[in-house]
């Protein structure tokens, strides 16, 4: 059981607080991704967990043992760094064995362990090479090898794929996921790339300004974002947000904007004339009419073709509005679309003042 608990974790640099009391519990064998924009404190949180940054306040525990004052080497963690942190003067085998040699593991044992790890990561033919002679993906695998060779309780990944090109990133993402499935080690992964977060995580922790905005499974965050920050951060393209005024009637709730009336979910906390933001994901906007859907008039400015899908860009109420449609291989006439349809159950309503999502009845 390798659970990780962060209790009211704080990090201050002088008078500046960069992590404001984070509470998080990572279950054993879980893959948790910390995601957020640059400077949101995700890497700092991970580094506090690794022991590379001093903890200004709160508590970190691994397997119910508080490790605030435990040296990094005794925390039973392994970390994969953004720039791989491979020793340029050592071969792949020596790099993988570095941690074991430091811990004075017998040479024969090191040899066997390194060979096993190299086999798992398909590095066997590269064991004698230096990092400079490896491709980005191979270096990343060596970095992972260095981490897994020690059989730690927890893996920490600090943006390990951000130095790779898009194609390799996709491939390595899958390899990391498979490796986690195979090893079943509790993993905490930091990234600013929400696609990486969505594809890898059992649970995602969205952070902003040193605080946790929302914790949940990828689909929870996608479908029920807690606030507009999460709504716009998770999902690509992000959720479209429209400012409106609420109209609560006996037949249901409506959002009024630009002389239009759109049926929105019935919300108990909504009162008549409330200022709201209603959001709809680009994927949930329809281009064909359906029963109960609200029709809006738009003029498509740009069509971006992605193959099986296309992104339609238009201006709506002075803001950029994006619609994602399936093309089925054809993009004819998409630029001539003039009407879009919002279905009631595809809409998320946020309080304009707090930007928090309102609960559906």
């Amino acid at each position: 059981m390798s659970t990780v608990k962060l209790k009211n974790l704080v990090k201050r640099y002088g008078d500046v607080t960069v992590v404001h009391g984070i509470d998080l519990e990572v279950k054993s064998k879980e893959f948790v991704v910390l995601v957020g924009p640059s400077g949101c404190g995700k890497s700092t949180t991970l580094r506090m967990l690794a022991g590379l940054e001093e903890i200004s306040g709160g508590e970190v525990s691994i397997s119910d043992r508080v490790i605030n004052d435990v040296a990094p080497k005794d925390r039973d963690i392994a970390m994969v760094f953004q720039n791989y942190a491979l020793y340029p003067h050592l071969s792949v085998a020596e790099n993988i064995a570095f941690g074991l040699r430091i811990r004075k593991v017998p040479k024969d044992e090191i040899k066997t362990i390194v060979a096993d790890v190299a086999k798992v990561l398909e590095l066997t033919p590269l064991l004698d090479r230096r990092p400079a002679d490896l491709s980005g993906g191979q270096r990343q695998r060596v970095a992972m090898g260095r981490a897994i060779v020690r059989h730690p309780k927890v893996f920490l990944f600090d943006e390990p794929l951000s130095n790779l090109d898009a194609k390799l990133r996709t491939q390595m993402r899958a390899e990391i996921k498979q490796l986690h499935k195979r090893l079943g080690v509790t993993s905490i992964y930091v990234t600013h790339d929400q696609i990486e977060a969505m594809t890898l995580a059992d649970r995602i922790v969205v952070m902003s300004d040193g605080r946790i905005e929302q914790v949940g499974t990828p689909m929870e965050l996608f479908n029920t974002p807690k606030n507009t920050f999460v709504a716009t951060f998770i999902g690509s393209p992000p959720m479209n947000l429209i400012e409106a005024t609420a109209e609560v009637t006996d037949e249901g709730c409506y959002a009024l904007f630009d002389g239009q009336r759109c049926l929105i979910p019935t919300l108990k906390e909504l009162t008549h004339r409330d200022e709201i933001i209603f959001g709809i994901r680009p994927e949930y906007i329809e281009i064909e009419p359906s029963e109960g859907a609200t029709e809006i008039n738009v003029k498509i400015d740009l069509v971006e073709t992605l193959g099986s899908e296309a992104l339609l860009h238009c201006k709506f109420l002075g803001k950029q509005f994006v619609i994602k449609v399936e093309t089925h291989g054809k993009v004819n006439n998409l630029e001539n679309l003039s009407k879009l349809y919002f279905r009631q159950n595809a809409i998320t309503v946020f309080d304009k003042t707090t930007t928090n999502a309102m609960m559906v009845n």
Binding site: A50, G51, L52, A71, P72, K73, D74, I77, A78, M79, F81, Q82, N83, A85, Y87, P88, H89, L90, F98, G99, I102, R103, R146, R150
Partner: protein, 327 residues
């Protein structure tokens, strides 16, 4: 005749006109390049001029090493004597002694002096308190900025038999005063020690720069792996700065026959010639004091050729062993 050749070899005309057009193109490119980048060349000019005036132009005078040079006849009019001066030099015990002293002093400087800046850089890198680090660095850099005359004055004063701090300390421990600067057996130690004290701090800047270029995540990764600071020093820092160490070593080997001339002149005296007279002081005495310019030029040329060969050898070895080289 010209026409006949051109008739029978039609390619001759074509190729010469092609060469002309390539030359014109290159010239045009050069003019454009100078017009565009003249500021960079202007900044480079002082160094180039310095090299031409003080290093390349004097090479013309090297020929006097093979001539019976007379200042009245000049360089070109003086008669050639072949390698006569070199034979004379190698028959001269003083020159052989100077070579031996040069090699011994340089060798000692290299063996004892070369590692000191590296050790200093590694130590500075380990100092966490920035104030202490700055102070320590200033203290060790300072001697470099003091002129050789003052350094020699400090050494002479420190080793003075009756009032020197070293002898006072010896006296305090019950030992007799030692006339260090007139004892040949002490000269090399004092000279090498002074050189280390004067230059080690400043020399550490290059290594400190190399140390600061080491990727910090290598250390973080090692910390997570459980490496101690000492292990990080010899398993990460040293191997990472090895290319810089090798480059500095090659340069140092190239200068192995260039012992600090001013400092020797100021510290040595006839009593210590036995261990203190080096090639540069020998050249100075032969050339300027005895006015044997041709002999001094021969000694200087010998010095330069050996230094050149040493650099080539060191560079080749370094290239083969560690893939690090000057060129």
């Amino acid at each position: 005749m010209q026409d006949t050749i051109q008739d029978t070899m039609p390619g001759v005309n074509d190729s010469s006109s092609m060469q002309n057009s390539i030359l014109t193109k290159k010239l045009k490119w050069l003019v454009m390049h100078f017009k565009k980048e003249w500021q960079i060349y202007l900044m480079l000019a002082p160094t180039v001029i310095w090299f031409i005036v003080f290093l390349y132009k004097p090479m013309y005078g090297l020929q006097i090493a093979f001539k019976d040079y007379s200042i009245f006849k000049g360089i070109t009019e003086s008669p050639w004597v072949g390698l006569e001066h070199f034979y004379t030099l190698f028959e001269n015990d003083q020159f052989i002694r100077a070579i031996k002293n040069t090699v011994m002093i340089s060798g000692a400087s290299l063996i004892f002096g070369f590692p000191v800046p590296i050790i200093l850089a590694l130590m500075f890198n380990e100092i966490l308190n920035p104030k202490f680090k700055r102070t320590a660095q200033t203290i060790v850099y300072l001697p470099h900025f003091i002129s050789a005359v003052i350094i020699a004055g400090i050494v002479i004063t420190a080793f003075a038999p009756s009032t020197g701090v070293i002898n006072l300390m010896l006296n305090a421990f019950g030992y007799d005063s030692v006339y260090f600067l007139i004892k040949p057996e002490w000269f090399r130690t004092i000279f090498v020690g002074t050189g280390i004290w004067q230059e080690a701090g400043f020399g550490s800047i290059v290594f400190l720069a190399a140390v600061s270029g080491v990727n910090p995540s290598l250390y973080e990764s090692a910390v997570v792996d459980g490496a101690t600071r000492f292990q990080m020093m010899y398993k990460i820092t040293l191997p990472c700065i090895l290319p810089t160490i090798l480059i500095m070593l090659i340069i140092r080997i190239g200068n192995i026959l260039e012992v600090g001339f001013e400092m020797i002149i100021m510290l040595y005296q006839p009593a210590t010639y036995q261990t203190a007279d080096v090639i540069s002081t020998f050249i100075y005495r032969q050339g300027l004091q005895a006015a044997q310019y041709d002999m001094a030029a021969a000694a200087g040329l010998f010095n330069a050729v050996i230094a050149f060969l040493l650099v080539i050898t060191a560079n080749t070895i370094s290239k083969r062993v560690s893939n690090t080289s000057l060129w």
